[in-house]
Symmetry: C2
Subunit: 107 residues, 2 copies
């Protein structure tokens, strides 16, 4: 499964169900994109809870507004590493991150 295809899925399909619903994703691939999405959603939630703009969060983690936007939009160029580091910077504990890692609220 190539990355472009996953990116497409991420853009069009996310919000209506789970990644596993889509074509040609192996269970591992589906689990992986699900996990990334869960982290992305948790990130936005935490940012908003702290009443930060993307720009402010970007400064906090020495990154840029555009990259924060990509994180929250689950852009395929964003790594789990970056998502995790950002959640930690927002004050999440490893346990919080672990929770975000495996659960995701229905949209």
């Amino acid at each position: 499964m190539n990355k472009k295809k996953i990116a497409k899925l991420e853009k069009s399909g996310w919000k209506v169900g789970t990644a596993a619903d889509f074509l040609n994703l192996t269970p591992e691939e589906a689990a992986y994109v699900e996990m990334k999405l869960a982290l992305a959603e948790q990130l936005q939630k935490q940012r908003k809870r702290k009443h930060l703009t993307q720009h402010q969060l970007a400064r906090l983690i020495h990154s840029s507004q555009s990259r924060v936007a990509k994180m929250e939009r689950n852009d395929p160029t964003v790594s789990i590493d970056l998502l995790v580091k950002t959640l930690l910077a927002l004050g999440s504990s490893p346990k919080d991150v672990a929770k975000a890692f495996s659960f995701r609220e229905a949209a």
Copy 2:
């Protein structure tokens, strides 16, 4: 905190305590390396449980024995993404990964 230093810490200090015990790690940095270490340990555990050699696991994930070794040794060039993908390939569920993500047995 630079990467070389963390690599050093990972090599020398890990096994006797938690990363947070060491100098100059911010709480986020400490949490990050702790999480990576927990994933690395879980990975080795799962591989051994399945009676796979590093070489066999490498073939399974289309990687190389040396990279598997680096994953298990927590080499700083290994990303969380790769660790997570590998755990999923070994049959772990996202919940399993989440557990590994936040807990770590004493050595």
